[in-house]
Assembly symmetry: C2
Homo-oligomer: 233 residues x 2
DNA sequence: TTCCGAAATTGCGTTTGCGCAACGTTGCGA
DNA sequence: TCGCAACGTTGCGCAAACGCAATTTCGGAA
């Protein structure tokens, strides 16, 4: 678990400030795992027995209601901690995490948490900052859902995905994993129909190009205007 | 700062598990303050120089956008920590906190945070659990905003307030601080008009009684059905 | 006690976005 | 290569909720 991973995680932000020997200590109780596309890393309501660091790939964090309706809480990009229930005093996972593409993760048993946070304040601070950022983002989403129209919300969601995982292609900047209309709808509290209509409209105006589970933004600036409520662009 | 407050905070949940002498240590750097109704405890964007414990009263936590639209993030009831930016690695307050009624608080300088959390793991754990709960609640609100209709959301908001601060009166259970239609609208992402219409309708059905900045619930069970999307009740 | 302003009510027209349904498309596995 | 299932598109009607405006009610300050 030691040398092999040190390079893998050398530039993972959460380990900034740790010495090499400390890194080894942190990694000692960890194990690596691969998760295939569409497989779950953990399930909502399940006992929180491990926490994770996403090394490569992207995760979709999904919450499902009793009635089976679902909402995408967020996407997790490589380099982030996931499933850190103990940081917030929980012993079950509040959501499910599903691999959006094939993923590589590190995982630790929860039992390692008290020790890690106690011995590495930098690690603890990083973890709590992550929680804080998620609270902030979630709060921002509440504001958006409360005040913005569907068109602005969808534009924003697309822009966020592009910012997080955008990859340059000949069509513009493409979201680097498969995203369906339904996925975007689940992120913005609307229906796949409305998302489809919006994407079609934007495509005809030359702001995006999209296909089956694929979205590229060709004119980010104009889409940004839309996300800010410009009547036209 | 010692004996006087010990009784005040004897049953504050966040201090559970602390010995008396530890309590004194915790309280040593603290100071008490009173905040009059409608005055701010701290302001969004301001430097986070102190954190607070609400001993008595109720706070409204408000976020305001650049365009001046506002959303009520949450109400804080007595016994909760507020303004704990450092717990999540921030140095400015992400929102403003306004006294909904006259309030009594304890406040600590931020500089006390590292010491307190290091010396009193129970305190730290409580603080992080608070953050976790808020993340959870905020997440739940995203789900609600994404999936539920306005009527259900408003019913839910009223029920939440009643649950948090309900006080028995002859009219049923009353929310224990002034809440305007606009406040409810800011909590649910709708307009004061719609809230007014809903409250009127519910009142004519005998589920609530309400007046100027005052709401009582007379039939919580039926209102609960509404909040769960029952067509009628 | 009176008066003023904030809060609340309510009617009406309009818009947004949903729901349904029918139809087209694409890519993968047999 | 074919067939099918998942994904996407689009037209149409409708309901929910907004926005505006006119009016009323209430409570506190002068």
């Amino acid at each position: 678990m030691a040398k092999l991973n040190r390079s893998l995680i050398a530039d993972v932000e959460i380990f900034n400030g740790l010495q090499d020997e400390d890194l080894d200590t942190v990694l000692e109780p960890a194990s690596a795992l691969r998760v295939a596309k569409d497989a779950a890393v953990f399930e909502q309501g399940g006992a929180a027995e491990r926490f994770f660091l996403l090394l490569d790939g992207a995760l979709r964090v999904v919450q499902t209601t009793r009635e089976g309706q679902q909402v995408i809480a967020r996407y997790i990009a490589a380099g982030s901690l996931v499933g850190i229930a103990p940081a917030i005093g929980r012993d079950t996972y509040p959501a499910s995490a599903v691999a959006a593409v094939d993923c590589v993760l590190l995982s630790w048993p929860m039992s390692a948490w008290p020790d890690l946070t106690a011995r590495f304040p930098v690690f603890a601070a990083n973890a709590y900052r992550t929680v804080g950022q998620r609270l902030q983002e979630t709060q921002d989403r509440v504001i958006e859902l409360s005040l913005a129209q569907v068109e602005q919300r969808v534009a924003n969601a697309v822009l966020r995905l592009v910012r997080q995982t955008g990859r340059k292609t000949e069509d513009g900047i493409e979201i680097d994993f498969p995203v369906s209309r339904q996925d975007i709808a689940d992120m913005t509290g609307t229906t796949l129909h409305t998302v489809s209509r919006l994407l079609s409209a934007w495509e005809s105006q030359g702001m995006v190009r999209s296909g089956r589970k694929r979205i590229s933004v060709t004119d980010p600036h104009r889409l940004m205007l839309v996300s800010q409520g410009a009547k036209d662009a």
